[in-house]
């Protein structure tokens, strides 16, 4: 038996499945994470339809791997890694700059209307590079620690620190630029 087959057999092929990997386990993880994944995808893509599709794909992928759910140490991290990869693929395929208006419309629930600073911040976010935007979203909107971000972004903790600093500086520059343009 090759090493791969042996590894595969240990991951569920060889053993009789336990109830921990059935639909009820899937439902628990789904209800705990569905809004987080959708929010992340929406802020990454600025497109409600695409964010919904990606959320669906992420959870269908989890469902396909339901026999391995107990072996996955960090389900939330696993879901975000999947969502992030799908979002980046989608952006790569789409090759489209997210329009500022689109972001505003999609997040109309936020109190941007009452708070002009929040509106500018959203526009500044939309103008960030993908890698900066995902770092800011993971930290500011999803509340991940640096070590969790390192796992999701597949970089070192010190690289996360550097990435986040550069993202914040770029965000501040974008913010000032948009604010000046508004005043003119």
């Amino acid at each position: 038996m090759s090493l791969d087959r042996f590894s595969d057999s240990l991951q569920g092929g060889f053993w009789v499945a336990r109830s921990g990997s059935d639909h009820s386990d899937f439902c628990i993880h789904f209800h705990e994470n569905k809004d987080h994944i959708f929010d992340f995808a929406l802020r990454m893509l600025g497109d409600k339809q695409a964010a919904g599709d990606i959320t669906q794909d992420v959870f269908m992928k989890l469902f396909e791997n339901r026999n391995r759910i107990r072996e996955i140490q960090n389900i939330r991290g696993w879901l975000f890694i999947s969502a992030r990869n799908m979002c980046l693929n989608h952006l790569r395929d789409r090759r489209k700059v997210i329009s500022m208006e689109e972001i505003d419309q999609e997040h109309s629930n936020d109190s941007a209307g009452d708070n002009p600073q929040l509106g500018i911040l959203k526009k500044a976010m939309a103008e960030l590079d993908d890698r900066f935007r995902e770092a800011v979203i993971l930290r500011e909107f999803q509340g991940f620690s640096y070590s969790e971000m390192a796992e999701i972004l597949q970089i070192t903790v010190s690289a996360v620190r550097s990435l986040l600093f550069n993202a914040r500086i770029r965000l501040r520059e974008n913010y000032e630029k948009i604010e000046k343009a508004r005043l003119i």
């Binding site: 336990r18 639909h23 919904g52 469902f63």
Partner: protein, 156 residues
């Protein structure tokens, strides 16, 4: 204002509470003498405070229902007994298959056994699982006399 870049990254990290005690002291010493870095700390804190006003988007119910429908229709239904067994034990699949085959074989054998017995007693079958030999024992007066004679002879 020497090597501010090193401290600027620390400013970003201190906002997130991701600095070690040692780094905290180093940054504190630097901020005491660097107006530019102190201003940056204030600005980044203000920028961060803006994020606290956001509301999280929620997954539309229609998409949620699609996902749940798709996954539940593809999940095998389990009986409560099967669920109990599989939740209590983790056994290798080959062992489970052999055990299952043995149980089925025993059940089939047990079902067929009465049929064999019936066929034998009715005289149609050729296989005899339980041969039965019936002998008739007839006691005559002669036997009783013999017994009496034997008793008398031996003074019993």
């Amino acid at each position: 204002m020497t090597d501010c870049h090193k401290y600027r990254e620390m400013i970003s990290a201190i906002i997130d509470g991701e600095l070690s005690e040692n780094e905290r002291k180093l940054l504190s010493d630097h901020l005491a003498g660097c107006e530019q870095c102190s201003r940056l700390l204030v600005e980044l804190r203000e920028q961060r405070n803006l994020f606290s006003n956001h509301t999280k988007a929620t997954l539309p119910l229609a998409i949620e229902n699609v996902i749940l429908d798709k996954t539940s229709s593809r999940s095998p239904r389990r009986t409560p007994i099967g669920k109990f067994i599989s939740s209590s034990y983790l056994i290798p699949k080959p062992v489970a298959w052999v055990a299952g085959a043995l149980i089925i074989a025993l059940a089939v054998f047990d079902l067929l056994l009465p049929a064999f017995r019936e066929s034998d007693s009715s005289g149609y079958g050729t296989t005899q699982f339980y041969p039965q030999k019936i002998q008739k024992v007839i006691i005559t007066d002669k036997d009783i006399v013999k017994t009496q004679t034997y008793s008398e002879k031996n003074n019993l």
